[in-house]
């Protein structure tokens, strides 16, 4: 890995975080941001410390986690088009959130918890469905089951939204579209608590992913415990993605585009790829979040919309480069 490229990556990370901290509904000069970070009594301290700092860090972590999930799934399903949301996760999370709102569940954590439970429920159902065919976690069956479960959950969600008279059910859509507008240190702590172990496990098994990507049989002959690794990857990506949906709604394209982009610039071996993907995913989402809160000041655009708007042309560009 060339030193120049690494240095460039490091500089990108720092630049993105700096931009994230200095951009916002209130334009703050860098000087004030710096003062706000280190001195509790500075004018901008409240905004920088209590709102922007946790927001930027959370966006970075979520972006990195989603990107790693995408890379791991792409290796596991042997399909560069895999995305964490293919497994029915997003619809499951949406259904959970809508049920929580429709049943007027009390408590500030009701909706995120319900979204988390819904996402995991969808994943479990997809897993169960893919067992029916007798072939555990076969990529094709996984994808199909994911689509089926996703459609089912989506239909239920729409039905509840139409039938329920609870206030705010229709606002569930807004929440689901994704955003970091209510990010806090506590949300960051909760996400980190959920994400730490799955992330560590995925990073640990990076080389195993290289083998799985060769195919079940070659991987097996090279010494990988294919079944166990597949289950592990599936569970970890499910947990990570569910945690990010519960924290900030549904944000797509990060898991799809970032691994591709990193693979065009660096080697595809996962031991080096995964950490790089994490850093790039973090930068990507921080940047998308900056756009979402500055494009139509003072309004906030849903981050999921921004990642799609950036992600699709970026993906097209990447496709052209790889096919050329």
């Amino acid at each position: 890995m060339s030193g120049a490229r690494l240095a460039l990556l490091g500089a990108t990370v720092i630049a993105c975080i700096t931009l994230g901290l200095s951009a916002g509904a209130v334009p703050l000069p860098l000087r004030e941001v710096w003062a706000g970070l280190w001195h509790a009594d500075a004018g901008a301290a409240a905004i920088v410390r209590d709102l922007r700092a946790p927001r930027v860090i959370l966006a970075f972590l979520v972006g990195g986690s989603l990107a790693i999930c995408g890379a791991a799934l792409q290796a596991m399903i042997r399909n560069p088009l895999a995305e964490p949301y293919l497994l029915g996760l997003s619809s499951g999370a949406g259904l959970g959130a809508v049920i929580a709102i429709a049943s007027r569940a009390a408590g500030a954590w009701a909706v995120p918890l319900a979204a988390f439970a819904g996402a995991l429920g969808a994943v479990a159902l997809v897993y169960r469905l893919s067992l029916v065919s007798g072939r555990r976690l076969d990529p094709h069956v996984l994808l199909l089951s994911g689509v089926v479960v996703g459609s089912f959950a989506g239909a239920l969600m729409s039905a509840i939204m139409v039938l329920s008279d609870a206030p705010g059910v229709r606002n569930a859509f807004l929440w689901l579209l994704g955003g970091f507008g209510t990010a806090s240190w506590r949300a960051l702590a909760v996400f980190t608590a959920y994400a730490a172990i799955p992330l560590a496990l995925l990073l640990y098994h990076a080389r195993s992913l290289d083998l799985i990507a060769l195919g079940d049989e070659p991987a097996h002959h090279l010494g990988a415990d294919v079944d166990r690794i597949r289950r592990l990857v599936y569970l970890c990506t499910a947990l990570l993605t569910a945690a990010s949906v519960a924290t900030c709604g549904i944000i797509g394209f990060v898991g799809l585009v970032v691994p591709h982009a990193v693979r065009t610039m660096f080697r595809p071996l996962h031991r080096s790829l995964l950490p790089l993907v994490f850093l790039m995913g973090g930068c990507f989402l921080v940047l998308a979040d900056v756009v979402s809160r500055t494009a139509v000041r003072p309004l906030e655009l849903p981050v999921g919309v921004i990642t799609a708007l950036i992600g699709v042309p970026l993906f097209a560009l990447l496709l052209r480069r790889t096919l050329a």
Partner: protein
């Protein structure tokens, strides 16, 4: 005895007849064994059973004198290397990176490759004669080169046995010969070699022993000259053949066309 199957019977679910019926097979170091037989005779099943991929109903399979079921995956990969029929890579690694994946059995997911591992990769590349391809991307290789890369990867595992499944499929004459020469060299260097092949004549030239299967049972076991005889081959493959002798003594099977009778040919019977 590195690979050994003792009278194994394998039956697939929902199949009335057994895929393998009381089949025995042994492969030791410096010995190249070829498993041949018509389609559906159970060649693939035999090798899969030897590798512990399918359960046996009766009999036992031993790797290095230990039942195959007791071998942890990674340890098994340190003893047996397998090159499957087909493999399509999704991500474009380099040849060197691909061969280094063969060290997974010894490194595991976490450890960093050391001089030992780099040495093993180097030797594997040399033995397969692909040193000059080391930095090439695997999606730019020809079929024959890709096969040799996979053999090198299996060698990087530093196994005691090497199993090849139909290695000559879709290879031309030059690559077929190169591959079998390489395989025989490796076996002569001490490896136990097992190959499934439909190519009777190559098996005859390179193998020390041939196991001929038909409908899940062993029809003949022995040296090529003992197994590849006209009456046996004609009966098993259901086609009239003539068997000639190459100057090194290896039998060469020639399928007959309609109207050709061995009595009218000037060759041995």
């Amino acid at each position: 005895m590195i690979l050994e199957a003792k009278a194994i019977t394998v039956r697939y679910r929902r199949h009335a007849s057994a895929a393998l019926e009381a089949v025995s097979c042994q492969v030791t170091g410096s010995e190249l064994v070829a498993v041949v037989g018509p389609n559906g005779s159970g060649k693939t099943t035999l090798v899969r059973a030897l590798l512990g991929l399918v359960p046996v109903e009766r009999g036992s399979v031993l790797i290095d004198d230990r039942p195959v079921g007791q071998w942890p995956r990674r340890l098994l990969a340190q003893v047996v290397g397998v090159v499957g029929q087909q493999e399509e890579a999704v991500f474009p690694l380099s040849v060197a990176e691909t061969v280094m994946l063969g060290r997974y059995a010894r490194l595991g997911p976490l450890a960093r490759p050391g001089p030992e591992d780099r040495g093993a990769v180097q030797r594997a590349l040399e033995r397969c004669d692909i040193l000059d391809l080391a930095e090439r991307s695997i999606d730019s290789l020809s079929g024959g080169e890709w096969k040799r890369v996979r053999v090198a990867r299996a060698l990087a595992q530093e196994p005691r046995a090497l199993v090849l499944d139909e290695p000559t499929a879709s290879l031309d004459v030059r690559h077929e010969m190169e591959l079998f020469e390489l395989f025989r060299q490796l076996v002569d260097g001490g490896l136990a070699g097992l190959v499934i092949t439909h190519h009777l004549n190559l098996a005859a030239r390179f193998a020390h022993r041939i196991i001929l299967l038909d409908r899940g049972a062993v029809v003949a076991v022995g040296t090529p000259a003992e197994v590849l005889r006209r009456e046996i081959v004609s009966r098993v493959f259901e086609w009239p053949v003539a068997v000639m002798k190459w100057f090194d003594g290896a039998p060469q099977v020639v399928p007959l066309r309609a109207g050709e009778e061995t009595s009218t040919l000037g060759g041995p019977q």
